[in-house]
């Protein structure tokens, strides 16, 4: 029952919230940074990411989960951040876990749009391992996904209370943020050690094949565009992600 993790703030502005799961199994020279999805997708997948982190820690891997600036328990508000800043947060998290552990090998687990955010890191660290869960590789693609989920909310509530120019997936995003998202190029992970676990909610298989990213399909519906608050019990995804990392 004793806590097996340490919560803390880190980053150059000390504004990023992280949870460090130190390895509890036979120690490996291996760390994993969990780069979570965003907005409603994060709320729903939090349990699965915690389960993955605990499982990896038990297998001897040191794990750092974190919240991007302006999201989750990190400081600031989402309307005051930029996509580039979130991408930098992946670098900061990787740097932090290296500093804490001294491990030489760092893997990134990127979920949904985190695959795009982690692509910048992959360009500089192409030999590291990247495992993805239902990756979204482009800013425009993710924005379109948010718009589709927003359309469902509009049908439910009507347009009078929702600011259609800036409200996406239950959060208000600044105009500059949306522009930045729209112009963010579709980036694949340029790593020889990349692997994707995809579910029935994933529709970019052609892109994975074209990018030569090995993948495994799970018969599970995540419903990323459903604006529900239902927690994902994605046991098969958790198993497959852990197998891919270990």
């Amino acid at each position: 029952m004793m806590s097996s993790f340490e919560p803390f703030f880190f980053g150059k502005d000390h504004d990023l919230f992280g949870i460090y799961h130190p390895s509890s199994g036979p120690k490996k020279d291996h760390s994993v940074v969990v780069a979570p999805p965003l907005l409603n997708e994060y709320m729903r997948s939090h349990l699965a990411l915690r389960q993955i982190s605990s499982r990896l820690a038990q297998s001897g891997i040191d794990v750092l989960r974190f919240d991007y600036a302006g999201t989750g328990n990190s400081l600031g508000h989402i309307n005051g951040v930029s996509v580039d800043q979130w991408s930098s947060n992946v670098f900061e998290a990787a740097s932090e876990v290296r500093e804490i552990t001294g491990n030489t090998r760092t893997s990134i687990l990127a979920v949904r749009f985190a695959a795009n955010l982690a692509a910048d890191y992959a360009r500089i660290h192409p030999t590291q391992q990247f495992v993805m869960w239902d990756p979204v590789f482009g800013g425009e693609a993710w924005l379109n996904s948010l718009l589709r989920s927003q359309a469902k909310l509009l049908r439910q509530h009507g347009s009078s209370v929702i600011d259609q120019s800036c409200e996406f997936s239950g959060q208000k995003l600044s105009g500059s943020f949306v522009d930045e998202l729209r112009s963010r190029p579709t980036s694949t992970i340029h790593s020889s050690k990349s692997f994707a676990v995809v579910t029935d909610s994933f529709d970019q298989t052609d892109f994975l094949i074209a990018s030569k990213i090995e993948h495994k399909r799970i018969n599970f519906h995540c419903g990323w565009e459903d604006l529900t608050s239902q927690v994902l019990y994605a046991h098969e995804v958790v198993d497959s992600v852990c197998q891919a990392v270990i």
Binding site: M1, F9, D15, H46, G72, N73, L227
Partner: protein, 278 residues
């Protein structure tokens, strides 16, 4: 106020440090009460659409310290071994109270959405230290007026007629136009009997605990202002209970404007009822 202006500290509570929370401290604590925000269902401490973070910031900027907790077995917190579910809920609360007492606060106001509201009621019924209770889609029960209101709304709703027409066209029968709410179970949250729930409320109100009960349209047991107070039968005369029917909002406040309005309601209620300083 930006979250950067407030002091957020992650904490691990309980003897075994298994209980995770984030305490948000104002620049100077000017109140003699602190807020404890419980989990909304199975969602972690951040709350639906980051609602709990925003509530904590708003209350903290008014001078209240706030703990957002992951109760045992939820969010980041592991389970407690042994003890009943009710024991666990109360023990978790006692750990939060001890943390608040470290900064000189020994009265609390509990905030809970959905199962968090149910847990808040259980705690408030047992603990003298609870001075206030905010129930978001908490317990109520259908009164004899419920079906009248339900069908009145449907008859007057253009969308209901559109849906009915659509279903008749697609299924060829009026039967399939039944709503999900009809015949739905009312006790999916494991509520005690109405008698026991009323006793919980009686215990809470007997010690002058202030209650703010806000209901949305995102549940299937409440649809008219006044239903809650008539259902529990206490507190109306004493002015301890404020009841709000926020009919536009859904259960998890997925629309920004609705969250803003909810936070404003909570802040106003706190200002009116807990203005005393430490």
């Amino acid at each position: 106020m930006s979250g950067r202006d407030l002091k957020s500290i992650p904490v691990l509570l309980s003897e075994h440090r298994h209980l995770f929370g984030v305490i948000t401290l104002p620049e100077s604590t000017t109140k003699d009460c602190g807020f404890v925000i419980l989990n909304a269902g199975l969602l972690h401490n951040v709350g639906p659409f980051r609602l709990h973070v925003r509530i904590a910031e708003a209350l903290s900027s008014m001078g209240f310290p706030v703990i957002r907790i992951d109760q045992s077995g939820k969010g980041e917190s592991s389970s407690r071994t042994g003890g009943s579910r009710l024991d666990t809920i109360v023990l978790d609360y006692e750990d939060c109270l001890r943390e608040l007492q470290r900064i000189g606060v020994d009265r609390t106001i509990l905030v809970g959405l959905c199962s968090g509201a149910d847990d808040g009621l259980v705690i408030a019924a047992q603990k003298d230290s609870v001075a206030g209770l905010i129930l978001l889609d908490g317990y109520s029960r259908r009164t004899w007026k419920y079906p009248f209101e339900h069908y009145k709304k449907r008859i007057l709703s253009v969308n209901s007629w559109k849906n009915l027409f659509r279903r008749i066209v697609s299924h060829g029968t009026i039967r399939s136009a039944r709503t999900d709410t009809e015949g739905a179970g009312m006790n999916i949250r494991g509520w005690d009997s109405h008698k026991e729930m009323s006793e919980h409320f009686a215990a809470v109100l007997a010690r002058n605990t202030k209650v703010l009960a806000i209901f949305t349209s995102g549940q299937d047991y409440y649809n008219k202002h006044g239903q809650f107070t008539s259902c529990i039968g206490y507190g109306v005369a004493s002015g301890s209970v404020d009841e709000v029917f926020f009919a536009d909002a859904d259960h998890t406040y997925s629309v920004c404007e609705h969250r803003d309005r909810l936070i404003e309601m909570i802040a106003n209620w706190a200002r009116q009822n807990f203005s005393t300083t430490a």
